[in-house]
């Protein structure tokens, strides 16, 4: 047992310490100090994660559990507070702390206008966010995962509503939390089914007994867990919170969309891969929902004019691809896409943040244009991100997306066709975004143009690092097509997905078919890019969308639909319950009893006339009645 693995608790501990220092000392810390503490703790975690990762790369490394203390041990259910280190969690540790660190560094500059105590509060939340996410991926059982699961929900709430004076932002934060909670309920019920079936929540025990369990029960479990994933990873029907989550500061969006939070659902399913592999129905549901989300979000992204909203819908769409990958059994592909997506999406968001920073918090791309010259670093890195997400080789997005699509083709060619259509849309809207922002001429006010400037190094450095990663990360997963055994990631993650790989029948696509697929997709994507560039560089959209475009611009009116079928009826029910059941109904009955007693008293009071004669008369009558009773009944 190597010692560094035993120190895994340091990874979440550092951010926790950072959270406590920044949170408790927010009034006394200077901005630079809280920035250094905030970023430093994540760097420390990253270093430990690197060391751990290094351990896990060793041949024959097996999953190691590190017990911290007894958490819940009742009713025959033993849930220790324990961490599990294996290839999957180690990889996620790297992504979270690595990308997280860059975002922290970026934030020190991006948030510099904030007052010191708000600045410290911001870093406290960021650290807590990373802490929760680390708990989520490190847990050795579903309950620890759930702790992190709800924890990231909380942190997203705190960060989306960071500028709490604005009520709109507050609403967006609440929406995020509540939608996540809906998913969490599903997740929780899934946990109860697991407890009932396996008597444990510990991964190793659950997965060891998964084979041979009734498929129906596994289907229920996996579907319920998937409900949780739709909430956290913004899939249909619970995706609407993510675009609204743009209310938070831009680095937060980068953190939520790239390194933490939304990847939780992917991680959870990848972690429970054996359960899903054994429940084909759930797999199909996951794939279909993922695909539907990918397409739906892509169509919406085409017509958004807020730079962050476009990126937000692209996240939803990319997450859909990951779920498609999970659904067709391409677990490695999905995790691969999580990784590459973390790089290029963080890059895009931070780039967008740099643009917004330069534009003095203007986010409407219709008012941008021609920024390439003014913000060269941002421009080049953003372009790299766009190419990566569009899927042009040899940028990273190509490899991961292609891996998912090829597996989708093997599972069902229809998946592939729809998936490819989504990919074309992705290329289209990303380059629409690029063209409207960076090419053409500036469409904002003159004064603003005068102030345009490149961001400071704290912001450009992370951009450059992420751009490099977004370009080269794909080489970790070169398909077998090009070189045998070049898929390093698959090799690395193989132990985690071993059981699933053994069970699932391997879908094999002929190399010739694969070449054709690649050629088709690259050609179409390139065409799509050029069309977008051509169209939007010359004649950018400046007005409001019309016709069908208006439906897309209004996000298919899904928010309105939810509002009408859920929020309003619930509110109506509340009003009804308050007014009719509570006040008139139950309390009415209670008060009615009281009133009827009072009424009865008032009636009886009339007997008390005060006339001695009437009293005597009643008395005599009473005696007579008693007489009659005695004689007739009690004889």
């Amino acid at each position: 047992m190597s010692s560094i693995i035993d120190l895994v608790y340091l990874v979440p501990l550092f951010p926790l310490i950072g959270f406590l220092i920044n949170g408790l000392g927010r009034k006394n810390l200077s901005k630079s100090l809280s920035g250094i503490i905030g970023s430093g703790v994540i760097l420390a975690s990253f270093i430990v994660s690197l060391l751990i990762f290094n351990e896990t790369r060793a041949e024959g490394f097996t999953a190691t559990t590190v017990n911290l203390f007894e958490f819940i041990n009742v009713a025959g259910l033993n849930i220790p507070f324990a961490f599990q280190v294996d290839q999957l969690s180690a990889l996620f540790l790297l992504i979270i702390t690595g990308v997280g660190f860059l975002i922290h560094v970026y934030s020190t500059s991006y948030m510099h206008e904030e007052e010191p105590h708000h600045f410290a509060r911001y870093f406290a939340y960021l650290n807590l966010f990373v802490f929760s996410m680390l708990l989520l991926v490190l847990g050795a059982n579903y309950l620890i995962m759930f702790i992190g699961w709800e924890g990231v929900g909380l942190c997203s709430y705190l960060l989306i509503g960071y500028w709490f004076k604005n009520n709109e932002y507050g609403n967006a934060a609440r929406k995020a939390f509540v939608m996540n909670r809906i998913g969490d309920l599903g997740f929780l019920l899934g946990l109860f089914f697991i407890i009932q079936q396996f008597g444990s929540l510990t991964y190793s025990e659950v997965f060891a007994n998964a084979q041979g369990t009734d498929t129906a029960i596994l289907t229920v479990i996996t579907l319920l867990l998937f409900v949780g994933a739709t909430g956290k990873s913004a899939q249909i029907p619970l995706y609407t919170w993510l675009p609204d989550a743009m209310a938070g500061p831009t680095p937060v969006s980068a953190l939520i969309h790239a390194a933490t939070m939304v990847t939780a659902g992917i991680y959870m399913i990848a972690r429970s891969n054996i359960l899903y592999t054994l429940a084909p129905v759930s797999q199909t549901v996951v794939a279909v929902v993922g695909l539907a989300t990918a397409i739906l979000a892509a169509t919406i992204a085409i017509k958004q004019n807020d730079i962050k909203k476009v990126l937000a819908y692209s996240t939803v769409s990319q997450l859909g691809y990951m779920f498609l990958g999970l659904g067709v059994g391409a677990y490695t592909g999905a995790v691969f896409h999580v990784m590459t997506h973390a790089f290029f999406k963080a890059l895009l968001f931070l780039g967008a943040g740099s643009v917004i920073h330069a534009m003095h918090h203007e986010q409407d791309i219709r008012k941008m244009g021609g920024l390439a010259k003014k913000l060269p670093t941002t421009h080049w890195t953003f372009l790299a991100g766009c190419i990566a997400i569009a899927g042009i080789p040899p940028f990273s997005g190509f490899f991961s997306k292609d891996e998912i699509l090829v597996h989708a083709f093997a599972a069902n060619p229809v998946y592939y066709v729809i998936g490819l259509a989504g990919a074309l849309m992705t290329a289209f809207y990303m380059f629409r975004l690029y063209a409207m922002t960076f090419s053409g001429t500036f469409r904002g006010t003159h004064e603003l143009e005068h102030h345009l400037h490149e961001s400071p190094w704290q912001m450009t450095m992370p951009l450059v690092v992420l751009a490099v990663l977004a370009i080269v990360a794909g080489f970790l997963g070169i398909p077998e097509l090009f070189a045998a055994d070049a898929h390093k990631l698959e090799h690395y993650l193989a132990p985690v997905f071993k059981a699933s790989t053994e069970i699932a029948e391997a879908h094999h696509v002929e190399h010739s078919t694969e070449y054709i697929l690649l050629a088709v997709s690259i050609t179409l994507i390139v065409l799509s890019i050029f069309y977008a560039l051509n169209r939007f560089s010359k004649k950018p959209e400046t007005g409001e969308a019309e016709g069908f475009g208006k439906v897309l611009a209004n996000k298919w009116y899904v928010d309105e639909l939810y509002n009408n079928i859920i929020t309003k009826p619930l509110n109506g029910l509340g009003v009804f319950a308050n007014r009719f059941i509570e006040k008139s109904g139950i309390d009415g009955i209670v008060n009615g009893v009281g009133k009827s007693v009072q009424w009865g008293g008032r009636q009886l009071r009339l007997l008390q006339s005060g006339q001695v004669g009437s009293y005597v008369l009643w008395m005599v009558l009473g005696i007579l009645i008693l007489f009659v009773i005695t004689i007739t009944i009690l004889k």
Partner: protein, 478 residues
Amino acid sequence: MTALLLILVPLIGGLVTFFVKQESQAKLWSFVVSLVTLAAMSVNLLMHDEAGRSFTAEWLPMLGSSFALQMDGVSTLLCFLTALCYPIIFASTWKSSYASPNSFYGLMLLAQAGITGVFLAADGLLFYFFWELALIPVYFLCSKWGGEKRIAVTFKFFIYTFIGSLLMLVGLLYMYYQTADASFSMQSLYAVKLSGDQQSWLFWLFFIAFAVKMPVFPFHTWQPDTYEQSPTAVTMVLSALMVKMGLFAVIRWLLPLFPDAAVQYDNVVIGLSVIGMIYASILAMQQDDIKRLIAYSSIAHIGLMAAALFVNNESGLQGAMIQLFSHGVNVLGMWIVIELIERRFGTRKMSELGGLAQKAPGLTILLVIVALANVALPLTNAFIGEFLMFNGLFKFNVWYAAVGGLSIILSAIYTLRMIQKVFYGNENTLTAKGEDITWFEKASLAVIVVAIFVMGVYPKPVFELTTDTVTLILGVFK
């Protein structure tokens, strides 16, 4: 001996308070008395003084009733909760001033004696005695120091609980005549063998008394009104401690006395509780007065506990017991925040508040933590309880857990709505003049926050404490 001290100290201290005319002295004196009680309880816990947890003396031998006190696991927990809450209540309401403070604080301490007595009594008659003793001071506290509609509301409260108590008395007397040795002692009452029919109607006589106190839907309508109208210090006692009397009584008396009936009617009780959870949550979303909001939220949480007590499995029972404590701590924290808001801004209406986070960041942070405990976020104390209770409910019936689980979502909706309306947004003319809380108030809230996290992260000691009660109840059902 501790058991006796826990009752005697507040009782005598309370009687003495009546003669302390000066306000500051009355406050100080009652605070010291509550601290002494807490010290006695803490020493007992730290020393693991098992012997000190029971006490017997002759009381009414001709009736077969003795002054028997006994702490088992769950009553130790609740006695500690009572002892812990009182100093916090006094500390957090230090700045509030009440007319004739001597009787106010005296009655508060008398109520403490009564509540502790309920948690301790191991004799049927003594239990009834304390049950009423706890009610009477609270009645006077509400009706004398309450809000505008206090007379009507407290009268309703009194009638509700009193009818329940009378039903219980009838049941208790019937049980008394069934005992082999004409005794009210817990052992004799436990030993009574009852037929199925007898159990049925006795069960309902007792249950209604306890259900009113908890309260379980549809016996709850006294609660929001009473919470709203009472002075906040009394509301704290009511919701942090007195509602626990009902739940505790189910654990100590109802389940062991009538196990067959409890199994027979489990669906009715759990059904009502689950309906109550959802119903109260929906109503909580409609409230404008924060006190009423918390009142309904409390009903929802109590509903889950009531349901979990009847699921007849270890997970549910353990969850309910740890939640008894957690809920007391959390709801107390909520009331403290409300008290602070009301004292500063003179209103409890969410529509009139807003933007407090700018003026009172300290208060906001503490409230957010307490509110998160209220929605049972993991690593807060309430999560442990709710997780186990839902698990227990799930084992009993999947659908109850699924429907009841909706309250998890609803609680997030109304709690966050409250936070946003009160603390976020822009300040208005009313809230602009506010200021942050003082260190003294911070300290009392800090105790609660510490309790929230310590229990949320390391609940093991509590489980160890309550295991014996759980074993007892599960044993009865076998």
